[in-house]
Amino acid sequence: MTAFRKGWRPVSAIILLFLLWEAASLLFEVPSWLLPSPSQIWQEGIAGWPDYRYHLWSTIRLTIVGFSIGTIIGIAVAICLHLLPKLRDTLYPLMILSQNVPIIVLAPLLVIWFGFGVLPKLIVITLVCFFPIAVAAMDGFKQTDADLMHYMKMAGATKGQIFRKLEWPFALPALFSGLKISATYSVMGAVISEWLGAKQGIGVYMTLASSSFRTDRVFVAIFLIMALCLIFFAFIILLERWTVRWKTKGAKNNG
């Protein structure tokens, strides 16, 4: 997780990648409609800013709202299913099923049921986000240290107290593992949801670019999506560091 502190490594790897790409473009004279060179993408990225900034904002808003809802639902589902084992037995398989309704097929139904508003889009992002969080959190809860659990039970902790004071903090690292996966998917989820029929958003920008054969703009969109994802991911990692800091603070001689 020191990935972001020691930022120079990945950054230089990426720069190297870009240089190779640029060189290859020049060398093999790849036509730009097939694969634009980084410099062309960069130019379009600068030039197109006034065009796509509204799209960008719209996607960011959608992602944040969707990811938040997905997280809340994911955690809530994990908690409910964990605390109510019978409910878990009933719903867990259904939850897995929910992940396998192909969104592309769900899309028309969602639009037919909920219209073209923001609701079907949020449903899509939520569907994409909540599952990794819920699975990771449930597995985390399940793996609580047995000795600590024994103590809590003997000390007369109620189910709720055991959950709040033991299982929850214990599952936090696992939960963050799920959050990381979800954060990564949330931006993609937003973009997909925009294909559901939206007026703005990176997804729309990309479809338009692609259908008018502007490969350079498609790549600008890809890089915007990537940048958004990285920012989200970094945010989760910061949150993780801040939340489970006892791990780093306590285990100093974990040489």
């Binding site: 024994h150 103590y151 039970k153 000390a155 007369g156 006892w246 791990k247």
Partner: protein, 245 residues
């Protein structure tokens, strides 16, 4: 009416019989020690009293109510210190109180100081030595408000002097608040120095092999361990235990 009584408790794990027809009781404000070979079932006994396990057979009564499988009736210090790694020592020692709704930070800080842990209030368990963790777990059980305290080898990781300090402190708390204490130890001197009664368990399956009522007057002084009487008692219990192994 005894504070806690166990009547014909049986417990097996799989086909391993661990406790067999075990019966004894503790009075109000009594200090009872349990000694017995390693692996005889002392910790299991505590798990039963604490409601973590259900006896296969028999009754566990507190005052007059059946507490088989009921949790939270006792204050407990486990054999492994079981501190929550994400809580500081201060937060950890207040956990028992916290579970029952009332926290007394001032009291906790005093206790920490008395246990020689001042300066570590805000350290995490990982930063403590084995003995220090044990002391923290001990404070936690002392701060819990239940009237029966079950201590599973609380001082095993302490040097003789720290151990003596802790013993004296335990006695002073006990004498002041008059709670009942059930105390597992491997140290016969410790059991003699602290207890009103000593229960000797046989090896597995554990049964009550012998019960000794210790006649030393209270309050007890440290010097008591040097008396003839004390040595005689020590030999007696030593022989009782030796007979088994």
């Amino acid at each position: 009416m005894a504070s806690l009584s166990l009547i014909n408790i049986c417990k097996s794990f799989g086909d391993k019989k661990v406790l067999k027809d075990l019966s004894f009781s503790i009075d109000h404000a009594e200090f009872v020690s349990i000694v017995g070979p390693s692996g005889s079932g002392k910790s299991t006994l505590f798990h039963l009293i604490g409601g973590l396990l259900q006896p296969d057979n028999g009754e566990i009564r507190m005052e007059s109510s059946l507490i088989n499988g009921k949790r939270g009736a006792i204050s407990y210090m486990p054999q492994s210190s079981s501190l929550l790694p994400w809580r500081t020592i201060l937060e950890n020692v207040m956990l028992g109180e916290e579970l029952l709704g009332k926290k007394d930070e001032q009291g906790a800080l005093e206790m920490i100081a008395k246990a020689g842990l001042s300066g570590y209030e805000h350290a995490y368990p990982d930063q403590l030595s084995g003995g220090m963790k044990q002391r923290a777990a001990f404070i936690r059980s002392m701060l819990s408000p239940q009237s029966l305290i079950c201590l599973d080898e609380p001082f095993s990781a302490l040097d003789e002097f720290t151990r003596l300090e802790m013993q004296q402190w335990l006695l002073s708390i006990w004498e002041e608040h008059k709670r009942s204490i059930l105390f597992v130890t491997h140290n016969i001197e410790e059991a003699l120095y602290l207890s009103d009664r000593i229960i000797v368990l046989s090896s597995r399956p554990a049964q009550v092999k012998a019960v000794f009522t210790i006649p030393f007057a209270r309050p007890r002084r440290e010097s008591i361990v040097l008396t003839e009487d004390f040595l005689r008692w020590k030999k007696k219990i030593y022989n009782e235990l030796r007979g088994m192994i």
